[in-house]
Symmetry: D3
Subunit: 249 residues, 6 copies
């Protein structure tokens, strides 16, 4: 039995609130247990210099935490004057994952800025960010469709992420909360698409290693969890769900 | 009639949600019209170097906006690698204001970190931050009282802030929203205490000047508005309201 | 009686040396008591990006202190690699104040860089900077007039600044020196125009508050002091004084 | 057939030169095809603040490239004033991997600084860095053993890393060179121990996804490649190979 | 004949104003032609970390220019967030030169901060800084002597600096002004002691080279010029001149 | 007799390995005793902004050390976020020296980036960098000649550098190793051309001074040493040696 009485293959309660903030083209508050992340997708009508003149778009992500999202207050990265290695890793991961399911050629010279701001953290903030950001991006493109700035939904398939891990007693578990994450020997983040293919696997055993069998069990758990997340996403995006994949039809 | 149909001396709707986030000792979401600020107060059991060994405490504030809190997305200050002059001005103002109503000698060598994070902006973010932060600070001290770490509520009186201004047609108005603020000839922020005294007056006419009469009208409007804000604060802090001022009794 | 034997409504001795340095278009050394500030106004024939192509000009200010302008040596901001919040507040204030009395539409796409460098500090450095910078700016425009680059003096009215405050014994005083400033309960900086209107009021009571009556007394003292400062400025700018306001005639 | 005529499961030629530089406790030049990395391990007799007084050690890694290690010259990170996200990711990976096979409790309050400096890059610089750094660390500990500063070899097992990937024609390949890496749909870095367990799996499909079958094929290829790398490492560390694992005997 | 009608071996007019600013222990305004530098020496009662506990002192120098000291306005180094290579070179030179004539063992654990701030530049700012800083340092030590904090003047001999160069017509000249410096093929800065020995020679021919004969002529010119500078210094330090060298008597 | 048994006028063993790294247009490993520097010259087909449109080229240099090139590990400048004063001085010196022997007008709008990376340090790293960089630059221009992008070798004469110094026993010596450099009273770096003229003289006596006689002896020693270095360079550049000077023929 886990510290919050979940089964080893249970997600924490998931709640996705859409249109959370007024200004962004797509805005979502995603809650996964006590982890709460505001995911905003902003459309900008230009692309970074390395893409100019190619007629295609870009998606980039930024990630941050409020200083007191965690048990101990953290110093703001703006005060430190630089972004930490952990933050960079996470925002690169989010951007890469989202780009894998968007047909960037079909959105014109636009940048989608995805901002994931963790207001409360209890483990799994990067995977919740990806899962929530996917919804925000679909909603933002929904707005472009509505305004007839693009003709087809450029999102090619669903995308969600979850963490899995191995506890010191060798139990493999799904969706680690902060306490579990602190104890786990292995921590793995999996990003998958609606076609059950992998986009990203990041598994790390800092003070331990893991076997091929453990890897397989973790991948199976992740597959189950992500399937459930797709259902929450599908509900959140409403009718836009049916348009996903239309650019590649 | 104003752009949102308010009277010249009307505040926008105010809502203060307490215990908004789990981890901070005091946590508040304050909404003033469409302006929404998360105000968290965190207690740290030590003081900055310049105060060590003096047996007294400190309050400091930080302020930030989510990138898409505004109509146009702003670059994160962490990405720019430095905090803007505007941000510095605001966080210095918040800290100074709060320190004026806390008996720092009575809290021991503790620092109260006040984090004001604007998640949606529609004018008046600095004054909403002060008004909300006051509640967060009272709640944080309430927790210290409960844990018997301090004996008396160190807050000496109520404190709230509001903006006033002069429109191009020379009307003085209370609590400017973003559109009004953009048009106003004069923008003034007033911080007052429960004893109707001033803590801070910051009035600026960048493309205009203002007369002594206009100043007087603005001060009166501010006094009325702040009186209403005290009522919202009083309700939010509950029984702790009665303990305000007890260190100076 | 004050610590330097002045009356409560007396300014310290004021001296404005014009053409202090060779290169700048306008250069002034202003001395207010022991406070000494070099104010240089430089004309650059272009404007910042946000103004390009609009045919109008800009004024911006920078402020700094020599490391040993003060009793204790301060670390250079260039060595620290960043400008402090205090410096930013002051340079934003100086720029805003000057822009309020210059007709930026009439100077073409030019930037006036105002550099206020405090070589000796004894309180009131920001107000001395504004008062001196005004003269430097008038002289710089005088040079443009002489070179026939502009047709009219773009300065619309006189502008000066002074500090006022409240001592612990509740005496309101004019033009605080450093020792008075350190003791004062309230510190207020007032910027006014030749038409006796306010451009900026910044009043702060960090460890104290102030009443409406005290505010009124301080505003009156400031008005008197600024009137005297106008006389010094008028003398310094010579014949150019008569051209002030001609663009709005 | 691959662009350099290798088989899909062939490593490039590997060469490890030990004692490459004089000063470091352990120094290695590792060449994997045209990729050349200097890996230096330096022992410092103290630990970072968060570990002080606990009697245990730490390993940390830094990674950099000479500006012209690559086809196009890159701007130095020292000139840019900050370390890129890519560099941070890589150095965090190297440090984490090495810490997983060192018994930090047995080395006293010492830090091992591992510096991986790429002097020539042709793909796989991060995996070559890990493989080479392992040897440098063993040599550095060999020196501590020789000087009788520690009693047992604190390295618990062998550790090496290799890249695998999927080409656009869906061939899975081992040890990608730069040209292959640029074309590949999937890029995966695998770190394994001498016991054939995983320490780290990082697989990414930026413009593509990968199936469970492809993952399995890649993991098998990596296992084969890493086995060969262990042989090179074993030869390089000489007699010290037999002492690996002795702290856990 | 030179552009300012000087002879090839003539210094520009030199003027040293002592006690220029109130707060520093030693303060000097040195004018060499149109070059004007404020040189302040501040005594701090502690030394940098690398010297603590050794009972000896340290001298360090900082150098800066007002933005409009030059014909074109320069961006402040505090705004750029870093000190330029040129500034670093100059301040390292000034510090090194002064340390060569001060008996650091005899001043206790004190640091002398020397601040050279150029308020007007017309060539030779670094040599004027050294010549003026020497006087400021002697005056600062004079104050320590007066306060009986040290027993002997720790300055061991006089020290001054001058520039020499070669014009395009191959004339060697002394004390280049800005226009000469811009044209010169060779620019050399010489620092010498009262015993006619060299402390520093820095000669550079960016677009030209120089022969051994030219070098000799330049060294001779420098020797003559520095001899004159010693006379100005001697006059400025008054009776303290006689105490120079007493620690080595 | 010196600490490494050399005579006072002996260079350490010199070895120049050409084509050390694949990618750069010119690449050299220079070894002077135990000092080892990789010198890479990269040609970029554009010039810095201040030169654009003038049809001429530029040479700039950067210098760095591997963290453990020295006895004690140094913190990377990229981690510190800024380049040290020492590094700036050295890279400015290298660039200036190389520019003095290249006809920049004849290379079109190209920049030569010279990267000197010290992989092992034992004194004299800046002079070895200049001597090695000269060869790398000649080789890079050789490549441009081969590709017929330029018609004439733009290098006008040979250029090499060496250090000289004065030991505490007043012996003048050539080519100081690290231990000698640490003890020396005077440290001087000399850059000379194939025509035996000076490009740069930088002599410093931090804790000592030097006489005109000592200067002369050091200059003579340097001249002898540089003559030997020219022979090593001549051999390294092969047939290109004969083309040096052809633009000025």
């Amino acid at each position: 039995m886990r510290n919050d009485e979940r089964k080893i293959n249970s997600l924490r309660p998931v709640k996705i609130t859409t249109n959370y903030i007024t200004h962004p083209e797509g805005s979502v508050l995603i809650e996964v247990g006590n982890t709460k992340v505001i995911c905003n997708a902003s459309i900008e009508d230009r692309v970074p210099p390395f893409l100019r003149g190619q007629g295609k778009g870009w998606i980039t992500a930024e990630y941050a935490m409020l200083p007191r999202a965690t048990e101990q207050r953290n110093i703001r990265e703006s005060s430190k004057g630089k972004v930490s290695g952990r933050t960079m890793e996470i925002q690169r991961l989010i951007g890469r994952a989202l780009r894998s399911v968007v047909d960037l050629d079909s959105i014109g010279e636009r940048t989608v800025w995805v901002d994931c701001d963790v207001i409360q953290a209890d483990g799994g903030t990067r995977t919740a960010s990806i899962t929530g950001a996917f919804v925000a991006v679909v909603l933002a493109f929904g707005k472009l469709l509505e305004e007839k700035k693009i003709k087809h939904m450029p999102v090619t398939q669903f995308l969600a992420a979850v963490s899995v891990g191995v506890l010191p007693d060798n139990t493999e578990i799904l969706d680690l909360n902060y306490e579990e994450d602190s104890q786990a020997n292995v921590d793995m983040n999996i990003v998958m698409t609606g076609k059950h293919e992998f986009v990203e696997i990041q598994g790390t055993g800092e003070e331990a290693t893991f076997t091929a069998d453990q890897l397989q069990t973790m991948l199976n758990l992740a597959g189950e969890g992500i399937e459930e997340l797709f259902a929450f996403q599908r509900e959140s995006v409403g009718d836009l769900a049916d348009r996903i994949g239309e650019t590649i039809a």
